[in-house]
Point group: C2
């Protein structure tokens, strides 16, 4: 087990060695560690090595000039200058919040960026200002539109954070696919099949092979098949791609540069880097914050008290991650031996100490 | 077959007889007919009788004072004063567009409203101003949250209209459930079972009974089951409910008044009427409109040219409805004999002519 503080300083040190300022490195490190704390290790320390490799391949910029290139009172396009996604996302949401303070609501579309980690991190920044925060991002194309075999969309997540009063905030964070890609990798490593409805083969037939993406297959949109509304999951992923990619001037669809250094850049670029969209909505643009929070508490209580299916529990979006955070802050962060080894290697390359532990 | 013009005038005449001004009646009629033209008769003439019954029961107000009750430069709450939903929705989107012209983007939350018909109608109003339009609404509670047997959410649709250049606009319009409720009614009338994944019984077991809603069952959120991401469909429907209902001061969740006169009003009210949310986003708040439209054409072309599954066709959201509109404008609107009979009855009650036809 590692303490949160140890890994946070370690991660910040690594990014400083890659050229980030101490402030930027701390900001980036905070997002990685928040993923670990919220019980989402797929977006935590496991991704450090990818970032190191991308940096070595000159595919991320650790001294970016992140700036607004087009704006109106309530909108902006931010060019992230190839920054690490966690930094461009944070700055962009800060701009959205700052604009929404004046206009009541704002949207910031960000281009020339990279993978931003957990979207909930940025949406939750709005909560401190009594605002609703919205984050969406396009991602590596792995998902086929309904009726297609072409991989044109990412898992394109949406996160929405909504403040409450006595209750904890509502924090929804979900990909627009039935499962995250990581679940396929886990099943493949275990040699297990996955349920039908996650992936299709290269001809578009239903498949239970978790390794099908390496064989020309594709992930399916939320809904899984047309009979169960996969055209709706496709529409939702498409909206995220258009608002993140087309509107910002980033790449979109199949043109999105992969965030893994061993995957080559696409031959055609239709914009700059990856794209994200950040929204901020002032609660008191609609009613006094106190009144809204009471209503939100009533909403949460109503849903928490819904009658559960026998043996199950009705959850409010954000419950699982919040409970994980309480537990992991207390118990510490467990890192798999293979990931510890990778971190040790990166640490040695960059001249930073890292203590390997028996887990 | 009826001409669009005949039914439009007929519908306007009916609403004028119910007390609407000619302008309001025309605006309302336009939404009903647009549903018929876009091939969505479930939201067209079939709903006229419900509105008449609601009016007779004094549950809709045909001379409403629709007004802004709270606002900031880019936000507003509109109190619809119990108006017919088509009227409150149109006015609210017009306010969102007007605010977005100044601030770049705006959100309008509407309370004290009723069923608004097809959401795409309002989202598409934004297209003429080179804006993206967003519409969402809460609805009669029929859907259970993941892990629950309680019916707390509506089919809560989301529609997003995005302008393009040479290509037709992107118009996504989807409920946050695998199917619309109408599909259950059709299967029940035919005595057919429905596929698993649409509904559950009163204990939360999978069910194929299309009539299960009358037996304490519930509709399932998009994703159908937890293994296939129904917690994501639940989160999405919850976001729509909160932004439409909690933020506007309307009712939310199980407290939403039913839009059918024979269903009693809920005993507890936590706000006023039904709620909607309307968003408008100026394209040129991000980049020149011409540049965006070229990029959007490229997005549409890329997806239209995706490789189809053998024998299938890859569609862009909005294709089906647009093609239906071309065909139905030419061929005319077909009304089922049972619906013609209902319309004739309402027409006679209100002293309006209606010609019954052999279909």
């Amino acid at each position: 087990m590692y303490t949160h503080e140890y890994l946070k300083k370690f991660t910040s040190d690594l990014f400083q060695k890659m050229g980030c300022s101490p402030g930027d490195a701390d900001a980036i490190s905070d997002v990685f560690l928040r993923a670990e704390l919220r019980g989402l290790p797929s977006h935590g320390m496991i991704r450090i090595k990818d970032h190191y490799e991308l940096w070595k391949a000159h595919r991320i910029n650790t001294t970016p000039d992140i700036r607004i290139v087009h704006e109106s009172p309530g909108t902006a396009v931010v060019d992230a200058d190839g920054a690490i996604g966690m930094l461009s996302a944070r700055r962009s949401m800060e701009i959205a919040i700052s604009k929404a303070r004046k206009t009541g609501t704002a949207w910031v579309a960000t281009r020339n960026s990279n993978h931003l980690g957990i979207g909930a991190y940025y949406s939750m920044l709005a909560l401190d200002y009594d605002m609703i925060g919205i984050t969406m991002t396009n991602a590596n194309p792995l998902v086929a539109p309904a009726n297609s075999v072409s991989r044109l969309l990412g898992t394109n997540p949406i996160t929405v954070a909504i403040p409450a009063g006595k209750e904890p905030p509502f924090v929804a964070d979900f990909s627009t696919t039935p499962i995250a890609r990581g679940k396929l990798a886990v099943a493949a490593k275990k040699g297990e099949e996955v349920p039908l409805g996650y992936v299709q083969d290269k001809e578009g037939n239903p498949s239970s092979d978790p390794d099908i993406l390496t064989k020309g297959g594709a992930m399916l949109p939320l809904g899984s098949d047309l009979e169960h509304g996969s055209h709706k999951g496709y529409a939702l992923a498409a909206i995220v791609d258009i608002l993140s990619g087309v509107l910002s001037g980033a790449n979109f669809g199949p043109f999105i540069p992969p965030n893994l250094a061993f995957m080559p850049m696409p031959e055609i670029q239709v914009g700059k880097g990856m794209g994200h969209l950040f929204g901020a909505i002032r609660i008191d643009g609609f009613m006094p914050s106190g009144e809204f929070k009471k209503r939100m508490d009533q909403w949460i209580t109503t849903f928490r008290n819904a009658k559960p299916i026998k043996g199950k529990k009705v959850l409010i979006p954000g419950d699982i991650e919040r409970e994980a955070e309480v537990r992991i802050r207390r118990e510490g962060i467990s890192i798999l031996p293979g990931i510890q080894k990778e971190l040790k290697e990166v640490a040695e390359q960059l001249g930073v100490d890292f203590e390997v532990k028996d887990e």
